[in-house]
């Protein structure tokens, strides 16, 4: 195994370990904005441990699909991390067109979650599934469009090669507007895909208004832990993607000619990873800020948020057009 692979796997491990901290960071910002102390930063870790120690309870009417969903969601989230690089090293599995796999993995996890929700036969879960299907069907083309624009700009068909970090500061010259607009579009998609305010309210107890939370209402024990963990990973993946767009880090050669990580490279890696982590938690804090400053939208206005994301992606495309 090359040291490059070891570093890539190390980055993935870091993601797996730190992902549950991201919702904690968002919640802490919300608590501070509301004048509250808030729950502990590590609350999600405690919750996951507690849930793993329980035995699941299955509704009598459910079938195999209900039990398959948590595993499918977690698998697809972990698989997504293998194609998504933890900047600046390339992802453990990178190949041409891996960005389509990323979108596909999200779709797969949603497909299973929707099936599981319908499987319970509950009116609430059916409504949640229908809302999720509608909004994600609108979001998915925008997401793919954003990634395609990045491909076009970086002349690379892999996630590992398409961002500013890979391209280096020189590539941003004259294109900072493009990257900023894409990052904003992706941030709106992050809010939708991760069921945050203004699209969905992760804290509500009102089943009639929920989207994501209502689909996991009937899951319990380790199944619920899987789903919560998968949701945290998804939020992490989006934040990581945005961090990769907005961080104009200088691309230092981390690996020497022999392919090994020297002391110089190690220091560079620490700086890169530290900055990236800061950016990820910055995105988490930004989500908390948005949730504190605005109300949840009416359900019928959610497509307008997605339309805005699409509009920004379109504007980013126009800047490329001009440059070309």
């Amino acid at each position: 195994m090359t040291s490059q692979m070891i570093v890539a796997l190390g980055g993935m491990l870091l993601s797996l370990l730190l992902a549950p901290l991201l919702p904690g960071c968002t919640n802490r910002v919300k608590a501070m904005m509301g004048g509250r102390k808030g729950r502990p930063l590590l609350q999600l870790y405690f919750d996951l441990c507690r849930l793993m120690g329980k035995s699941p309870v299955y509704p009598g009417v459910t079938t195999y699909f209900f039990k398959a969903a948590p595993t499918a969601c977690l698998t697809s989230a972990v698989a997504a991390l293998t194609v998504l690089p933890f900047w600046p090293v390339a992802a453990p599995a990178n190949f041409s067109g891996d960005f389509i796999l990323l979108a596909g993995l999200f779709a797969m996890s949603r497909f299973f979650l929707i099936l599981a929700a319908l499987d319970t036969g509950s009116a609430f879960e059916g409504m949640g599934a229908s809302r999720d299907a509608l909004f994600s069907a609108l979001a998915e083309p925008i997401f793919l469009f954003c990634l395609l624009l990045l491909c076009r700009q970086a002349h690379s068909l892999t996630l590992s090669g398409m961002t500013t970090v890979a391209a280096g500061p020189a590539a941003i010259q004259g294109y900072w507007m493009f990257y900023l607009m894409l990052a904003f579009a992706l941030f709106l998609l992050l809010l939708q895909e991760n069921s945050r305010i203004p699209v969905d309210d992760p804290n509500t107890h009102l089943e009639l208004t929920m989207i994501h939370e209502v689909m996991i209402l009937d899951h319990s024990g380790p199944d619920l832990a899987f789903l919560e963990y998968a949701a945290a990973l998804k939020l992490w993946i989006f934040s990581l993607l945005i961090a990769g767009l907005v961080l104009p880090l200088p691309s230092v050669p981390l690996f020497d000619d022999g392919g090994s990580l020297g002391p110089h490279g190690l220091a560079g890696l620490a700086v890169h990873w530290g900055t990236t982590l800061l950016a990820i938690f910055g995105v988490g804090a930004l989500v908390g800020l948005v949730e504190s400053l605005m109300a949840r939208l009416r359900m019928e206005r959610v497509p307008q948020v997605l339309a805005m994301a699409g509009a920004f992606a379109g504007l980013a495309a126009l800047t490329l057009w001009r440059q070309a």
Binding site: K30, M33, G34, G35, R36, A123, F124, G126, M127, I197, P198, D201, N203, T204, H205, L206, E207, L208, T209, E291, S292, L293, M294, A295, R296, L297, R298, M299, E300
Partner: protein
Amino acid sequence: MTRSSFTHKPHITSVDVIVPPAGQPPKGGTCPDALCLRNGRAAPLAALPVMSFARFSQWLSEQIGAGCRAVAFFAVPRESASAQRTAPPLFFLYAVLADDVAGLLLAARTEVGSSYPSLTPGIAALHLFERVLYEKFAILPEGHPWLKPVRFNNSAGPGVGEMDFYRIDGDEVHEVAVGPIHAGVIECGHFRFQCLGEEVLHLEISLGYHHRGVEAMLTGGPLARILPLMETVAGDSTAAHAFACCTLLEGLSETSPSPRGQHIRALALELERLACHTGDIGAIAGDVGFLPTSAFCGRLRGDWLNMSAMICGSRFSRGLFVPGGTAFDLDPALARVLMDKVALAARDVQGAVRLVWDSPSVMARLTGIGVLPTSVAASLGMVGPPARASGLARDARRSHPLPCLPALEKICAADGGDVGDRTVLRYDEVLASAALCQNILKDLPAGGCRAEKQKKFHAVAPKHIAVALAEGWRGEVCHVALTDEIGHFAAYSIVDPSFHNWAGLAYALRGQQISDFPLCNKSFNLSYCGHDL
């Protein structure tokens, strides 16, 4: 209180309606058959002649057409009924109407047998009252459009919630059943939605899970524990129900409460209003996911409740109300402390709610949903903040002031009838109520907090009727008592504002998004146990 420096209004504003002071001649004209009562005063039953049903029905239509509203409608079995079961009529049917312009309560009665032509088709506000009669006494209102159990209190009848719901058929119509057990710590109630996608075509609300038989417990009284019972009719309206009950007992025993005690009671009622309105605004903000206001109002609600606790040791004013006055006096030092606390809490509420007015996303979320048009609110007989938000200037503190208390100077009202209007109205009422508290605390009448003569308040006048209206935070609480020959309650009827208002919520949901239901529900914030009794 420094109102001017902090008052900050959103784009939708409520208006202060100044209705003419009570005491105008009745609009519907006087009726020799009906009994005119003042709030909290008793009258002998002999002064209440028995009308023929046709006359009764005509009188009701005339009065309601002239702007009166039904505040109580109940039946009492005739004493002789048990002896000769076959011979109709078996029941006296009583109606109490409120004339808000004249400041009068009009009572009338008629005799009915086991059935009578339903009044609901002409007077929609009576729909639930007639269903209760049918359920309680099997008096059939013939032609009632929607005759179903209300509280499921008949042990031989169906279990709670077991009934046929209104149903819309169609391939794309789906039914959503919510409750009776809800997510969160709230009372039980069942909601049945008929939906076309996200749009609600019809909502039917089925309650009765909290029926405890309060009215049956009171009949034959007054019990020594009547006030503790009243305080739990609807726990969040402790002061309102206790106030109405005390007023009734004082009216029936022909005594007056101590003026000082009456003012302390009014203070407790306002503190209850302040706490609940503040909590409601916070809950509405919480429902739209706007956490700062939600968190601040949650704390401020506690501040208001603690002020009640400073007066009587209970955050919900339990044990404060006694016939003749209050059990606890307010010494001048405490009054000064309370004045400061009221000013401080009112200022903090303004700061917390200003965040809502300043957030376009919150205002956009609240505006235009759950609209209850004025005409519908009027015909359903809505009361309290939902009625005032729909443009009906109904406030018993203005039109039917309680003995020894001045009438409210103005009624807060709005005209849109949507969730935003109900929120703004609550905010305005918080400000008005805080100012009222300051006035009460400033000029507390001297004297004891209980009536001078410690008369036996349980020695009520025989063969009398008395009506008491108290404007609680949720709306007007109506208590009516009839006494028999030996001075026991022959009937005691309680009408909580929720009883009038649940139908308004069901109406407001028509054509709305089902995801807006929790928010609309919160903007009405009705009581389950107050309805179920």
